[in-house]
Amino acid sequence: MEVLVAFSIGLMTTCGIFLLLRSRTFPVVVGLTLLSYAVNLFLFASGGLYPDHTTVVDASAPYADPLPQALVLTAIVIGFAMTAFVVILALRARADLGSDHINGSARMKAQIRKRRSPQALKTSKKSTQHTKAQKAKENTP
C-alpha cells in the first residue's frame, strides 16, 4: 500500500511540475492544483497510513494520527484560495496585457527590455542632468 501511495504522490508531482513549466497560464494553474493535491497527500501520509482507524476519541477502533489531518484540512482550504487568486491574476493579465502567455505579451517584453538597456539609462540620466542644470540656472538670477 505504501508503495502505491508514494508512487501516486510522485506521479502527481511529476505531472504538476511539468504543467507548471508550460508557457500559458491555464496549464500552469492546473499544474499548481495538481501539485497541491500531491503536497496535501504527502503531508497527510508523512504521519504514516492508518486504514480502518479513527480520530474520534472513545471510539472502539485504534486511533490514527490527528495532527497531519488538522494541518492538511486548513491547507486544502487555503490552497483553494490561492488557486483562485492565481486564476484571477491570470484573467487580469490577459485583460491588461492582451495575452495568456505567462511572460506577458511580446510587445510588453520588448518595452521592458528597451527601458533597461544601457543606452536608455544613459540618455535618461543625461536628460535629468540637463533639466537640473537648467533649473539651477533659472533659480540663480
Binding site: 502505491l4 502527481m12 492546473v30 493535491y37 486544502i76
Partner: protein, 932 residues
Amino acid sequence: MLLSALLILPLLGVLVPLWAHQYGRTRCAWATAAAPALALLILFLNLPGIADGQVLASRATWIPALGLEWHVRLDGLAWLFALLILGIGLLVILYARYYLSEKDSMARFYSYLMLFMLAMLGVVLSGNLIQLWMFWELTSISSFLLISFWWHKSEARRGARMALTITGAGGLFLLAGFLMLGQVVGSYDLDQVLAQGDLIREHAWYPAILICVLLGAFTKSAQFPFHFWLPHAMAAPTPVSAYLHSATMVKAGIFLLARMYPALAGTELWFVIVSSVGMATLLVGGYFALYKHDLKGLLAYSTVSHLGLITLLLGLDTQLAAIAAVFHIINHATFKASLFMAAGIIDHECGTRDMRYLNGLWRYMPHTAALAMVAAAAMAGVPLLNGFLSKEMFFAETLQQELLGGLSWLIPALATLAGVFSVAYSARFIHDVFFNGEPIGLDRTPHEPPRYMKIPVEILVALCLLVGILPSFTVDGLLRMASGAVLATELPTYNLSIWHGFNFPLLMSVIALIGGITLYSQRKRLFLFHSRFERFDASETFERQMQKFLAWAVSLQAKVDNQSFQRYLFALLSLALLMAATPLLDLYHLEGGRELHPLDGVSLMGFVLLAVGSVATVIWHQQRLVSLLMLSVVGLVVSVAFARFSAPDLALTQLAVEVVTVILLMLALFFLPQKSHPDSSPSRLVRDLGLAAVFGGIIGSISYALMTRPLDSISHFFLENSKSGGGGTNAVNVILVDFRGFDTLGEITVLGIAALGIYKLLLRLRLYMPASDGEGRAWAVERHPRMLATLSQSLLPLALLVSVYIFLRGHNLPGGGFIAGLVTAVAMILQYVAHGVDWLQPRLQHLKYQRMIAWGVLISTMTGMASWLFDRPFLTSWFDYLHWPLVGKFEIASAIAFDLGVYLTVVGATLLILANLGKMTTVARPQRQAEE
C-alpha cells in the same frame, strides 16, 4: 547620563536650525551654536576625571542578542577628538554665518552640519564596535549631503558621489573587520577588544582583520591610493572643507588607527602596511600640492600629505612616534582649519581661488594676509609655531628606525624630501597669493571681510602661536592624556621644549626650509616639466569606471533576468531538487522498519484511476476542458484516499473544495482561450519532463521513506487531552478550534484577505467575451434549464440543514466549521449555476459577502479575546455540560463560537470569489447579443 548628553545634544541640534531660521540669520547661527556649546561645557566638566586617566562610561542595553549595547565611552583620546569636533565646529558655525550668501539655505546647511557633528562625536565616543560603525557610516552620509550642498553644480554632485562611494566601500570593509574582531574576542565591547590585543594578534584571522580595518581607515583618511576623493570633495562650501577635510572627518580614519592601536598595532604587518602607505601618501600629497593652481586644491593635497605623515608616525612602531602622531593631529587641525577659512575669505572677497589670478593681496587685506601667513608658516614647520614642534618630533623618530635594516636611512631621507615639498607649497601659498605683483582680471576690488568672519581664524592662529611658543604650558597635559589612551601603557619620557640643541632633526628642518624655498623659486621650470605629463583627472576616470560598471551590471541583469517566468521557475525548481536530493544520498535504506499494509483491490482501482487521471491531464493539457475534467478525477480519488486512510474530515473538505475549484476553473476557462497551441520545442519538452520526473521520483522516495519509518509524534497528547481539555471527541476538530486555534485564526484571515484581493482584482476588469465555444458553436439558448432550477431550489433547504448538522456535530464527530462552510457555499453556488446571477442578486441583496468575511474573522477573534476577561491567555476555550429538558445532557463550548467565525469566513470568501467571477459572465453578454 551626562555622557549620553554629549550625543543627545547635537541630535537635538539637528532640528534647531530648521526651526530657528525664521528668526533671521544671526539668531539662527546663535541658536545652532547653543547645543555644541553646552556639549563643550559638559566635556570640560568631565575633564578632571579624564586627566586622572579614568575611562568614563555610560551604558544601556540595546539589542543584547546581537552583542549591541549603547555604550558612550570617554577617555583621553576621545576627549581630545571631542574637543576638536566641538571647538572647531563652533568656530565653523560662526564663520559660516558670514560665508553663506543670502541665496543659500542656512537652515539646511546648519542642520547637515549638526548631523555631521553628531556622527563624528558618535564615532569618537562609541564604546561598542557596532555602534561605532553605525556612526562611521553616518559620517559618510552626512558628508555626502554637505559636499553636495550646492547640488546644482555638477562638480559638487560628482565630488559627493565619489566621496560616498570610496568611504562607503571602506565602511563595508570596516564592518567586516569589526565582525571578525567581535568573533575573535567574543564581544563587541571596546574595553574588552582593547584588552585582548595579544589574543587578536596571534589569531589566524589577524591579517584579514587588520586589512579590513585598515581599508576602512585609509579610505576615510584619504590615504594613497584612495586619496583622490579628497581634492574633489573641495567642491563643498569652504566651511565644510575647513571642518570635514581638515579637522574632523578625514581624521576619523586616523582616530580609528589610534583607537585600535593597543589591539592591532605592534606587528611586522602593521608596520609594513601602515608606514609604507603613510610614506607614499606623504610624498604624493606633497608633490601634487605644488602644482595645484586652486587655493583649496593646494590645501586639499597638503591635507592628504599631512594625513600621510600622521599615518606614518602611527606605523613607526615606537611609543614616541605615537605621541608625535597625536601631537600632529592637534597641530594640523588648528593650522589647516584656519588656512581653509582664510582661503574661503579670499574666495569670498575676490570671486576666485585660482592662484594664477590672485596676486598681491597683501595690500588689500593685510589683516587676513598676516593670519594666513602665520598659519602657512606653521604648516611649513617654521620655528616658534606649533607645526615646527611636531615636525621635529617626526624627524627625530624617523632617525630612530632600524626596521628597514641597511636601508633604514631611506626613512629620514624621504621624510626630509616631504619636508621640502611642504615648505615649497607653503611658500607658494604665501608668496603667490599675497605678493608677486598685482591681481589679474578680478571683477571687484578685494577688501577685508566682515569682522566676525576673521574671529575664528584669529583664535586658531593664536593657538598655533601659543602652542608653538609655550608648548609645555598649553598642550602638554592634553597630549599626555590622549597619548596615554592610545598607548594604554605608561608614557615614555619626552621633552616638549623648543630648543633641543644642534642635532640631526634640526639639520633636517634647515634642509627642508632651504630646499623648499629653492624649489619654489624654480617653480616655472617645474610647472613646465609637470605640464609635459599626460593630464590625469581622477574624477573623470572614476566617472568612466562607474559608468562601465553600471553598464556591466545592466547587461548582467539582462542576462540573468530575461523576463522569462519559465526560466526562473526552472532555476528555482532545480535548486529545490538539489536541496531535496542531497540528504537522500546519505540515507542508507530507503525503506524503514515499519510494517507495511497489504494491498487490496479497491485501493489498486483508485490508484489506477488517479494515475490515468494525472497522465491524461498532462497529455490533453492543450485541450483545456478535457484536461480540467481529468483533473477533477484526480481530486476525487484523492478525497477517496483520505477517506480510505481514516480521515473523514479531510475527505469531506477535499470533496467540497474539489467542486468549488472545478467550477472556478470552468468560469475562468470561459474567459481564456479554450485551447493552447503547442509552442514548446521538443527539446524543452524533454528538459521539462526530465526535471519533473526526477522531482516526482525524489518526492515519492521521501514520502515512502517517511511512511515506512516508525514515528514518535506529539499526536498522543492531542488524543489524550482532546476530551478532557477541549471538550470534544473529534481530535482533528479540537486541534483546529482549540489546541491550534491561533493557527486557524491566521488561516481564515489569509482566506479573507485572498478573497478581498480577488474582489479588488475583478473590479473594473475588462474581459474579452467569447461569442462561442472553442469549436465555434454558439452558446445554448436556454441558459438555465428548468429541471435543474427546480431541483436545486428544493435542495437548498436540505443542503443548509445538512451543513448545520455537520457544523454542530463537528466537535465530536467528523465535521466542523470548514466543512459546513464549504457545503453551504456549494449549495449556494448551485443556485447561482441553476438560476443565474440576475435571478439571485435581488433575492440576496442584503447578503454582503465582504461583511460576512469581516464578521467571521471578528467573531473568531472576539471569542479568543473573551478569555482575557477571565484572566486567561488568548483563545483559551471553555466548555461545560448543561441539562436541557427534552434534549438531555448537552455540551456547550466556547469553541463553537470560534467555529462559527470559521464557518462565516469560509462561506463569505468562497462565495465572494465565485459569485463575483460568475457575475462577469453576465454583465457584458446581453450587450454582445444586442450587437449581433
